[in-house]
Subunit: 153 residues, 2 copies
């Protein structure tokens, strides 16, 4: 089934690669600093950085001897997804004591991310609807048709 979530997962490539994007959001730029933060082997970190550069999520700046990795616009656009996952972890996995605070430049905590309709009403897991969009392939359309038939059943 084609779906932008699957495409997003494919672009980032690996769950833990998101921690590299997180570190880049924090302001980490140097290979050695990513390595110290993540505690993974050089070759694995190197492969993941390359992948993120190839996906245009990071760009390689600096010199060949001293590369600096910086988020592109596409990489920075992952901020809502990252913050949404962090907030979920804060709420459900760390007993109300967030290890990391996400704030604006003045140090004020950001608001919880919520899915909202154009009128501003909060949409939750019970009220959200999904349907095939203009980019849906035949399989996606068939999937939603079968799902609707099962619900009507």
């Amino acid at each position: 089934m084609n779906c932008s979530l699957a495409r997003a997962l494919g672009a980032v490539g690996d769950w833990w690669t998101l921690l590299i994007v997180r570190d880049a959001m924090f302001g980490v730029k140097r290979f050695s600093d990513f390595q110290q933060s993540l505690g993974i082997a050089r070759n694995i970190l190197s492969a993941r950085l390359e992948r993120l550069v190839a996906a245009d999520i990071l760009s390689r700046q600096g010199t060949a001897a001293r590369p600096l990795y910086e988020l592109t616009a596409k990489g920075q656009a992952l901020l809502p997804a990252l913050v949404a996952l962090m907030q979920w972890g804060d709420a459900w996995e760390v007993n109300g004591a967030p290890p990391v605070l996400v704030t604006d430049a003045a140090g004020r905590k950001v608001k919880p991310l919520e899915v909202r309709s154009p009128s501003g009403a909060v949409i939750n897991g019970a009220t959200v609807q999904f349907s095939p969009g203009p980019g849906a392939d035949r399989r996606t359309r068939a999937f939603f048709k079968a799902l609707q038939a099962a619900k009507d059943d």
Copy 2:
């Protein structure tokens, strides 16, 4: 480094497991329907469903012979993270033709998720700040201290 993002990734367990959560959001409940949607081997799907049940993201309902998997409150709370990733995929990976639309019950497309300060100002990758929170361990505090020193350098 302890961080709610890492905890969230650990709870879900695997990048592609998020597609099971997506299908559950779509309304898929039966093993065979997850299998048809995801096209993965029975034993892998089975292990991932068990993991999501153990993490209290899905609950097993129905009968032993015909189990139904439903999102718990904790699972439904992944909606903003899921929608944020889908919107990122829509914007950067599918050339503006979303395969799947996310709407309210009336069929109106949901708004793009944005990180906002308490005053409502949009915060982006350039203006967001991160700092150690009440749940930060010694390593997390040291990480942010070193990062600040590198910036001041």
